[in-house]
C-alpha cells in the first residue's frame, strides 16, 4: 500500500457557504497545482483539520469540474466543528478520494429516483449533476428530499433550479413552520407522489440509516427490484482504506467496499441491533 494514500495533501479554502444553522459548504483548491485529481459521484475524502483530527466527508460537487473540490459539512463534533469554522485561505488536509460510486452511469435509459434525508442530499448532489449533464440519457427523474424543518433544507435555491431540467423535485419536512406550504411528513410519503413509478426504476438513497431502511422497504414494496436500490452508508471510520477494521459491518468494509452498496448487500446487517 502506498503511503501517499494515507498522506493528507494541503488544500486551500476558496469559498465558504452557510447552508443552514449547522451545515457549511466548502470549496477547496489544491495548494500545489501539480497533483490532479478526479472522483466519481458517491466517493468521499478524509478531511484533516490540523491539530484536531480527521473525518470522512463525501464530495458534494460536480465530478466534471476540474480544479476544485466541494464538501458539505455538518457540525456534529470536534473535527466537523473545526472544518465548518474554516475561513477562506485556511488550509485543510485532504486524502482520497475513496470508496465506491453511485452507479448512475450504468443506469442510463431508466427512470431514476433520488431520495435524500437531511445531510444525505450532499453525497447525492453529484448524481443530480451527472443526470443534468446527461439528461437525455435518462427517462423520468425525481428528487425527493426530507428534512426536519424548512430551515434545515440544503441547497434550497439550487433545488428549485433542478426543475428546469425536467426533474421533479419534492421537499417535505417533519415539522412545518409558519410559511411552509409544501409537503409535511416523512420522506417515504413522497414516494407515492413521485411521477416516477418505482417498478422498473432505479433509486439512489442517502440519509440516516432508519430513513434508508424505510425508504428501501417502501420502494421494493412498490415493485422496485431490490438490486436497483442503492444506499450510502456512514459508519465511523478511521483509515478509509480497509486496513484498520473500524468501519467493518458484517463482511463488508464501509470505506473500501462502500460507502455505496446495493440494498440487498446491506439489508441483512442493517437490521441487526448489535452492528
Amino acid at each position: 500500500m502506498s503511503t501517499e494514500l494515507l498522506m493528507p495533501q494541503p488544500w486551500v479554502v476558496q469559498k465558504t457557504e452557510r447552508e443552514n444553522e449547522d451545515v457549511v459548504t466548502l470549496t477547496l483548491a489544491p495548494e500545489s497545482s501539480d497533483h490532479g485529481f478526479s472522483f466519481l459521484p458517491g466517493q468521499f475524502n478524509m478531511l484533516y483539520a490540523f491539530g484536531v483530527g480527521e473525518s470522512a466527508i463525501s464530495i458534494s460537487g460536480d465530478a466534471t469540474t476540474n480544479g476544485s473540490m466541494v464538501h458539505t459539512i455538518r457540525d456534529v463534533g470536534a473535527v466537523t466543528h473545526a472544518l465548518s469554522a474554516a475561513h477562506v485561505g485556511d488550509v485543510i488536509g485532504i486524502r482520497g478520494p475513496y470508496g465506491s460510486e453511485w452507479p448512475i452511469a450504468s443506469h442510463t435509459g431508466r427512470d431514476i429516483l433520488v431520495v435524500a434525508g437531511g445531510i444525505g442530499l450532499a453525497p447525492l448532489r453529484p448524481v443530480v449533476y451527472h443526470i443534468i449533464e446527461n439528461r437525455h440519457k435518462y427517462k423520468d427523474v425525481a428528487v425527493l428530499y426530507g428534512s426536519r424543518e424548512p430551515k434545515d433544507l440544503l441547497f434550497r435555491a439550487e433545488l428549485e433550479s433542478w426543475k428546469d431540467h425536467n426533474i421533479q423535485v419534492e421537499a417535505t419536512v417533519d415539522n412545518a413552520t409558519p410559511g411552509w406550504t409544501r409537503h409535511i411528513g416523512v420522506v417515504t410519503t413522497l414516494i407515492r407522489r413521485a411521477k416516477v413509478e418505482p417498478r422498473g426504476a432505479a433509486a439512489f438513497v442517502c440519509g440516516p440509516e432508519i430513513m434508508m431502511r424505510f425508504t428501501a422497504s417502501e420502494l421494493t414494496g412498490r415493485g422496485m427490484n431490490p438490486d436497483d436500490v442503492f444506499i450510502s452508508m456512514e459508519r465511523n471510520m478511521k483509515c478509509a482504506v480497509g486496513l484498520c477494521g473500524r468501519c467493518q459491518l458484517g463482511p463488508e468494509f464501509i470505506c473500501k467496499d462502500g460507502p455505496v452498496f446495493p440494498w440487498p448487500r446491506m439489508s441483512p446487517v442493517m437490521t441487526i441491533r448489535e452492528l
Binding site: R74, R182, H183, G207, P208, I210
Partner: protein, 152 residues
C-alpha cells in the same frame, strides 16, 4: 365522462376490489373541487364523509386559541383523508384544508357504513383497506416523531 365507480376502480386504494363493489362504493361518492384554503372538514364536526384525493394537496391541522395553526401532515394525490366516519364517536378530530386547488371524490360515510353492515364481505374489504392506511400513517407518524434526521 367517467363515472365514480370507474374512477375508483383505477385507484390503488380500491385495487383488486370486484367490479360490483366498486359500483356500490361509487354510488356513495361524488366528485368535488376544493379551492385553496377551503376546509374539507373541521374539528368537532360530525364525521360523515371521507375523501380520495385525485389531484392537489390537503393539510391536516390542529388549532388552539392564541396559537399558530399547527399543520402536521399533508396528503396528496392518491391519499385518503378521514376515517372518523368509521368509528364512534363519529367526530372529526382535526381540521382538513385544501392548500392548493384539490380535486377529490367525496364519499358519504353513512351510506357506505350502511352498505358494509348489510354486506360483511364488503365491510371486511373496506375495513382492511382503511386498516392499511392507518398502519402506514402510524409508521410515518412514528418516524416523524423520532426526529430521524437528527440521528445521523
Amino acid at each position: 365522462m367517467k363515472d365514480i365507480g370507474h374512477i375508483i376502480s383505477e385507484h390503488a386504494f380500491f385495487s383488486d376490489l370486484p367490479e360490483r363493489y366498486c359500483k356500490l362504493i361509487g354510488g356513495c361518492g361524488k366528485a368535488e373541487v376544493f379551492e385553496p384554503g377551503q376546509f374539507l372538514f373541521k374539528t368537532g364536526n360530525k364525521a360523515t364523509q371521507f375523501f380520495l384525493v385525485r389531484h392537489g394537496q390537503v393539510a391536516l391541522e390542529l388549532h388552539a386559541p392564541g396559537k399558530d395553526v399547527f399543520r402536521f401532515q399533508t396528503i396528496g394525490h392518491g391519499g385518503i383523508v378521514g376515517w372518523s366516519w368509521l368509528f364512534p364517536p363519529f367526530t372529526y378530530m382535526f381540521d382538513a384544508r385544501a392548500i392548493e386547488q384539490t380535486r377529490v371524490v367525496t364519499f358519504d360515510g353513512l351510506c357506505l357504513r350502511g352498505k358494509c353492515e348489510e354486506d360483511h364481505e364488503l365491510g371486511y374489504r373496506v375495513i382492511k383497506r382503511f386498516a392499511n392506511v392507518m398502519s402506514r400513517r402510524l409508521v410515518e407518524t412514528r418516524l416523524q416523531l423520532i426526529d430521524v434526521y437528527g440521528r445521523e
